[in-house]
Symmetry: none
Subunit: 220 residues, 2 copies
DNA sequence: AAAATTTTTTAAGGTAATTTTAAGAATTAA
DNA sequence: TTAATTCTTAAAATTACCTTAAAAAATTTT
């Protein structure tokens, strides 16, 4: 899952990035409103965290602009203010939720999960066939037998399962899992698909190759 | 262990916080019913202390709401009232226990231990493999041989054992054990993991490292 | 109040695991 | 058959963790 953080304070931004990367998100950080808006327009994020008091264009304005062009991406705003008025104002500008500073990471994570859930109707447990992923405990099971995956393997598997039944193009995979947004002359995806197929002992049963396009995860 | 105190009188709240922190709990305080409800909904607490007479939403209402969404978290209510009716009323609203003001800290602590015990079907003694923690006496044994741990070591071990079988991310550890909620550019977790591994002479048998994520405690 | 002790935190170099690169082999489609 | 694409493997590069020692902070003793 790909997330954009618009936040100028490096302390908070780094805290969020580290924590979210541990939770297997692909994280981008923008330090100004303008930069954040630009990144939101150019990339497809699964969720956006937006500080209300960033330099450059105000958070509210960034939110309005994003919402004008993208009706679905969930936006959570971070605010030091907490008067009812400010919150209403923020929600009216198109935000889906808000969280007050100082931030409690688990609270934020709970709110993020709520947004992703309502949008996608899923639980903290994803599965295909006999493969089960628990996003909270970071565990993967194949026929109830635990499989230890590295961070990148986990992240790739999550992306494929979340999109099961749909083709995942190489470009989308490299963007959502590796967070690379330019021409990537790399075979890293092939290698990781190989890792997953091997570790999960699934041959080509789950991850099917679509030549010239990418991969697709199928139940059967 | 993470605890939420919903209490408006600063004197009592501080008294409780200090005492519970000495017992190695990570403590959050909410001064109003609304705030308390919100925090309870967004965070995972191991136990909640709820004053019956807080400003904002009443304690009873807070309790009902929390219980509606979370069937397991133990709730102990603090009350100046002590008629049978009030107590019944409170327990019917979903509380697990009550304690009368003025508070005796030892009594409160005992009731907290009872709740944590009954909730998890365990004694005041936690264990993994041959390692045993006695929460009341603050002692740790490895194969019946006592191991002396410092406060932080004890607290970290407790968190890991209570979450055994689940991955504890670095961010979660730093929040639950150190109560730090911002970017922590620190290697203090690594060092304490090392301390525990050394003192408990367990090599990597119990505490497994999950690179890029955190640690997990396993029985075998 | 100062000194001694213990606990906690910081910092830095070494080490091991993960991630990426790269190149030849195998497969597929035209 | 040829050209393009993917698979497979191994090695290089990078990153995160481990380990150690010492500094800083907190606590206890003198």
């Amino acid at each position: 899952m790909r997330i954009l953080i618009v936040e100028d304070e490096p302390g908070i931004a780094n805290f969020l990035r580290d924590g979210l990367e541990e939770e297997a998100f692909a994280v981008d950080v923008a330090g100004t409103g303008n930069k954040g808006l630009e990144m939101a327009q150019l990339n497809e994020y699964d969720i956006i965290l937006l500080d209300w008091m960033v330099p450059g264009i105000s958070g509210i304005e960034v939110c309005r602009q994003i919402r004008k062009e993208n009706a679905v991406v969930p936006i959570i705003f971070l605010t030091a203010k907490d008067t009812v008025n400010d919150i209403v104002f923020g929600l009216e500008a198109g935000a889906n939720d808000y969280i007050k500073k100082p931030l409690q990471f688990e609270e934020l994570l709970a709110r993020i999960r709520v947004q992703l859930r309502t949008r996608e109707g899923e639980h903290a447990i994803l599965n295909v066939g006999n493969i089960e992923m628990n996003l909270e405990t970071h565990q993967v099971f194949n026929n109830s037998k635990e499989i230890v995956l590295t961070q990148k393997e986990f992240s790739l598997l999550e992306y494929l399962i979340r999109n099961k039944g749909k083709v995942c193009t190489r470009t989308r995979i490299i963007e959502h899992v590796w967070d690379i947004h330019f021409d990537a002359d790399t075979s890293v995806i092939d290698v990781y698909i190989k890792f997953l197929r091997k570790k999960l002992d699934m041959g080509n049963d789950y991850i099917h190759t679509i030549r010239g396009v990418g991969y697709i995860m199928r139940e059967d």
